[in-house]
């Protein structure tokens, strides 16, 4: 069996899996009847529809005679760098109380986020990244802390 259109095939697979998962989850809620819909009614309906649709998309991707589109290479480096920059920023702002990691505050968080995010680019230049982080830190302090007065832990010591 040749998957002609891997993009569509896996999209269909994803839809089907998610649809089934939602429909499966809906079993634990009361279904009710169409006149008195329980909390499980609508999600079950939608989940089954989605699963069916996903199956159709999968079959179509196998049958299609035209050369469908294939999935392009995954960009692991940007993916990992951007998402970890985001997560580390969260750790810096809120700490991880469960593991005893204290909050570092917005300012240090901006440096962490910028340096890690810059790793997503093709070339990494430490000097440039630090300069960028400094500029962003000053801008954010002015805009979010002074001007908009959003609530943050700003420094490690407060």
């Amino acid at each position: 069996m040749v998957i002609r259109n891997s993009r569509d095939f896996f999209a269909g697979l994803l839809f089907a899996a998610l649809g089934l998962a939602f429909a499966w989850g809906a079993r634990s809620y009361e279904l009710g009847s169409s006149a008195r819909m329980g909390p499980g009614y609508f999600p079950l309906l939608l989940g089954l529809l989605l699963a069916g649709l996903g199956a159709v998309i999968m079959v179509r991707a196998l049958r299609r005679s035209d050369t469908g589109e294939r999935i392009t290479a995954w960009a692991w480096r940007p993916l990992v760098a951007i998402i970890s920059a985001n997560l580390l920023f969260g750790v810096a702002l809120g700490g991880l109380p469960a593991w005893g990691v204290p909050a570092l505050g917005l300012m240090l968080g901006i440096y962490v986020l910028t340096l890690v995010a810059c790793l997503a680019g093709e070339r990494f230049n430490l000097r440039e990244a630090v300069l960028l982080a400094t500029a962003l830190a000053l801008l954010s302090y002015g805009a979010f802390v002074l001007l908009l007065k959003l609530q943050f832990v700003v420094w490690p010591w407060n």
Partner: protein, 505 residues
């Protein structure tokens, strides 16, 4: 009717013309354009990113600023389209064709001015249409029962599928997935927390900002970074002589008028909006025979910029009509506006106009002010936007990630949202890799709870009889329209032009 209209507009103007609100409109337009100009960030991500800036404001000011951000983001998008050959959003896909050709011929200035003037004119007309239609449509809204609301939402969702640039089946899948994600959280009727896995934060549901920023912000950035840089060519050096020549004016005026008319009509339709208006206007311009000495469309004809730009602005104005009168967002951007309004404790719908006329008419008046400001602001500031366009992407994307993260965190001051936006960033990238268009998902997400609630009520009233949707005339008509729209796209001829129209993506 006319007297009433003037009364309403003057009430609105008196709200919008206070110095403070004018300032918010200005700041909104400025920020919206500033972010919207940046390549790779569409209006959805722009609005989501700037939303936190409005949290601290009173509702009127917040909405006025949001409207400014919305128009600014759209306007910024067309600037990028013309100068960089990058459509920031679907509605400027057609602007790219002739706009970029004009820029290459050193006529970026007139192209930008045509876009600006066309948008302004269309915005003024659109605002008047909105003001004129608001009252009668609100009265229609009171005739709507739950069955009609369901039918209308279905029509809107079908419209959104038709307009998604990719595959129809996948777009339907995204809508269903969006509807399902919208159901996560506490069910209002039974009080049961659905799909929350005993996580307290999830009982409130998934935040729409989290989804918008994760998918449209992070997902896009990761995807952008996976393409080799350096293919972008910005035509910055040869923007001189902003003002279109007399001949340009003669050619673009009829196009602007046609675009405005088309856009105003198409914008009102649920599921319609800026994209459909722009495509229709471009098709019309293409059909109109060329005057002697005029270059063909596709080779830098000013009509190809002015018409679609006027149409998309008129449509984005009139697409507020279903939202403000019926409370139903007609596209993903409007869905985001619903979320924004809910944050400020405004439930969009017919009751806003009666319970809070100052807010309603103030918003409408501020739309006009916003459009005027954009022309005043943008034409002189074009040099600044061009400078911004030449900022390398490797400096931009960390800043975008930072502003997204800060924005997400400040919605609830809770790191939970940061974890979630990371998750949706990954999901968004998977969507892009699998060629799944995310805009219908956002629309489905906002409509999910509304659709369930109205479906439940409609079937409760009919004692479980599904035929209620076709025995009530209004509901039957709306469903018929949805069916018609669907068959229309499935017709081979239209299917072909549709795929041609989206080939630029």
């Amino acid at each position: 009717m006319a007297v009433e209209l003037i009364e309403h507009l003057s009430l609105g103007l008196s709200v919008a013309f206070t110095p403070v609100n004018l300032m918010y409109a200005f700041v909104g337009c400025l920020l919206g354009t500033l972010i919207g100009v940046l390549p790779g960030i569409g209006p959805l991500a722009t609005i989501a990113m700037l939303l936190p800036a409005t949290y601290a404001l009173p509702p009127e000011a917040a909405l006025i600023m949001l409207a400014g951000i919305y128009y600014g983001a759209q306007y910024g998008g067309s600037t990028t389209a013309i100068l960089v050959n990058l459509p920031g959003e679907a509605s400027s896909v057609v602007t790219v064709i002739d706009g970029y050709q004009m820029a290459r011929q050193g006529r970026a200035g007139p192209a930008l001015a045509a876009a600006g003037i066309g948008s302004f004119f269309a915005g003024c007309v659109g605002t008047l249409v909105l003001a004129a239609f608001a009252v009668p449509l609100t009265e229609v809204a009171f005739l709507f029962g739950p069955a009609e609301y369901c039918a209308l939402m279905l029509l809107g969702l079908v419209g959104a599928v038709v307009l998604a640039s990719g595959d129809l089946l996948k777009a339907f899948g995204m809508i269903l997935l969006g509807l399902l994600l919208g159901l996560v959280g506490t069910d209002v009727n039974s009080g049961i927390a659905r799909y929350s896995f005993d996580i307290p934060e999830l009982t409130d549901g998934i935040g729409f900002i989290v989804i918008a920023m994760g998918i449209f912000g992070y997902g896009e950035i990761i995807s952008n970074l996976s393409h080799p840089a350096g293919q972008r060519q910005v035509f910055t050096a040869n923007v001189q002589g902003l003002w279109p020549s007399r001949q340009d004016f003669r050619r673009m005026w009829p196009a602007i008028l046609r675009g405005t008319g088309l856009g105003s009509v198409l914008g009102i339709l649920p599921g319609g909006g800026a994209v459909m208006g722009a495509f229709a206007a471009y098709t019309v311009e293409k059909k109109i025979s060329l005057k002697p000495g005029e270059v063909a469309l596709g080779h830098g004809n000013i009509r190809g910029v002015a018409g679609p730009e006027a149409a998309n602005n008129a449509a984005s104005q009139t697409s507020f009509i279903p939202l403000l009168t019926l409370g139903i967002p007609s596209n993903a951007v409007m869905a985001l506006m619903v979320g924004a309004m809910t944050i400020h404790n405004i439930q969009p719908g017919p009751q806003v106009m009666t319970s809070n006329p100052a807010l309603f008419w103030g918003l409408i008046a501020s739309m006009w002010i916003g459009n005027a400001m954009l022309v005043i602001l943008n034409l002189p500031l074009i040099g600044l936007w061009i400078k911004l366009l030449s900022v390398p992407y490797r400096w931009l994307f960390p800043a975008i990630v930072l502003f997204c993260a800060i924005g997400v965190y400040s919605t609830n001051n809770n790191t939970w949202d940061i974890w979630m936006v990371g998750l949706f960033g990954v999901i968004g990238y998977v969507f892009i890799q699998l060629g799944m268009e995310p805009a219908p998902l956002l629309l489905g997400f906002i409509l999910g709870p509304m659709l369930e609630e109205n479906l439940r009520r409609a079937l409760l009233l009919s004692r479980g009889d599904w035929s209620v949707f076709i025995t009530r005339p209004l509901s039957a008509a709306l469903l018929l329209a949805a069916l018609l729209l669907l068959t229309l796209v499935l017709l081979p001829a239209i299917r072909k032009t549709r795929s041609l129209a989206f080939v630029e993506d």
